[in-house]
């Protein structure tokens, strides 16, 4: 079963097939998405702020385990809102989200926290605590499974937590920066620390909201390659938003394009023409 056939949006269009691209980076070296195990199921999701126009207008989407999905679309198309609604960082106005088998809108606070703990979320602005050390920021990832001061600052953390955090930092190549203040890092380094924080979380699935939008092209490539490598290594499901068509085609198995809060098209990346995808920004 291809990713395209999984799309449920009735108004999603098929793109004309252009010159075939090489297979996405993430597809190589890992098992094909398991369509029987849908990890994210969004049905008729709606969101409007304070009675304003709909930011999301009946979005429906299924993401099977192991798939990598790129959400593209112009500013204000609803990409970030969609990701945030899936974790109820923003409360949806209507529709249903089932994430890792849990109906998100029905969860109480404690169960919602436990569900969020399973999802790594990488933000555009990295969202590190600048006044704290890099190591403390990575240890924050342990708050997904541990309450209390042991996961607040590195000097209060257990030896095991500190060692795991150092391992995560080594994995993103920043172990030597462990005690540096997070606000003294470059943009690319900050984003790698944010990725290390999600590794510390031991997630089952990853969301990323324009993870390289604030980075220069080289740093952006580095971060995306690292991110893709980690996702492939852990066999995680990934949903990310991006304005980079090339990133969508290189790092995703499937591209979902949003326009005015609706899914405009939903296609597998294999064989899709980049120029045709750019049409979504017209």
């Amino acid at each position: 079963m291809t990713a395209v056939t999984l799309a449920r949006a009735t108004d999603a269009k098929q793109l004309p097939q252009g010159e075939p691209l090489p297979p996405p980076i993430l597809a190589g070296g890992r098992a094909a998405p398991d369509a029987a195990l849908v990890e994210l199921d969004v049905t008729g999701l709606c969101k409007a702020y304070h009675g304003g126009p709909a930011v999301l207008d009946g979005v429906s989407l299924q993401v099977p385990r192991g798939q990598s999905v790129a959400l593209i679309g112009s500013n204000g198309a609803g990409k970030s809102t969609l990701l945030r609604c899936c974790l109820r960082l923003i409360e949806p106005s209507g529709g249903e989200v089932t994430l890792l088998g849990e109906k998100v809108r029905a969860l109480d606070k404690a169960r919602l926290r436990r569900l969020r703990a399973e999802i790594g979320f990488v933000f555009q602005r990295h969202n590190l605590v600048g006044q704290l050390s890099v190591l403390s920021n990575v240890i924050h990832g342990a708050q997904s499974r541990q309450a209390g001061p042991g996961a607040w600052f590195h000097f209060l953390a257990s030896r095991a937590a500190r060692e795991e955090a150092m391992h995560c930092l080594e994995r993103v190549g920043l172990a030597e920066f462990a005690l540096r203040r997070a606000d003294q890092l470059s943009g690319g380094q900050s984003q790698r620390v944010a990725i290390a924080r999600t590794l510390m979380q031991r997630p089952r699935m990853m969301f990323a909201d324009e993870p390289v939008a604030s980075l220069d092209p080289n740093a952006g490539e580095e971060v995306m390659n690292l991110f893709a490598e980690l996702i492939r290594e852990k066999g995680l499901t990934l949903v990310f938003t991006s304005h980079h068509i090339n990133h969508a085609l290189r790092y995703a198995d499937r591209v979902v394009a949003l326009r005015n809060g609706r899914i405009e098209l939903d296609v597998a990346t294999a064989g899709v023409d980049a120029a045709a995808l750019r049409g979504i920004y017209d």
């Binding site: 990295h126 600048g130 403390s136 924050h140 607040w152």
Partner: protein, 278 residues
Amino acid sequence: MTETAFSGASAGLPTRPAPARFRRPGNGMSLLYLGAAAFFVYSLHGSEISVESLVNGLPNMARLIGEMFPPSIARLQSVGSAMLQTFQMAFAGTVIGVLLSVPLAICAARSLSPHPVLYHISRALIALFRTVPDLVWALFFVVTVGLGPFAGMLTLVVDAIGFCGRFFAEAMEETDKGPQEALTALGARRSGVVFSAVLPAAMPSMINSSLFTLEKATRASVVLGLVGAGGIGIELKVAMDLFQYDQAATIILGVFLLVLVVERLSSMLRQRILRQSV
């Protein structure tokens, strides 16, 4: 190419004229400015400003200053001991006040308060502590716990809570919401978000407020002695009442040095702390 584009733009006239440098205030604002100016003139009248009194007072000022010098060192030991007690009141009052301000400020920060009722109670408490002058609190504590430095310290605790509670809450509310969202997204509890993201981000501002409170408390603790709440103030009052202006000069110089040292030390400490990370 860019140069051509710029030079082309600068050569031609813009299609829209540049906006005026200043906006003419509306009728309402003009009336408000006029009213403020009129009230200022009225306030000068209410303050009974008199150039004649000022000129006539100049010789008295010169005489008083003349009598103050040279400062007397006759009671240096008791003045030094009262000075130490003044600083002890200020330091203890500030530390206890700052520590109590943290939980109160969390409750008084709209985005962090556990419950709206708690938010309003905390805000009201902080407003009460801040708006009632410290001399009134000193009188209250002198009457309730008796004369002495303990009443002064309690006054400074209340003063510190009123000041720090408000500024801590505002610093917490103004912190970047990004890290808080990141921690919420990874399943952190509210306490985790507050201690891991909000407090570290608000810390530079909180340290500034705390050190400023210490400076303020040091100055205030001098005055508190005037109403019997301990410290150097009572020594100053006695010296002035007995026309021992040379001894009063010693006390004033001591207070000046104490406040100066506290300000310099707190400034150095501030720079050092703000550069560190945890």
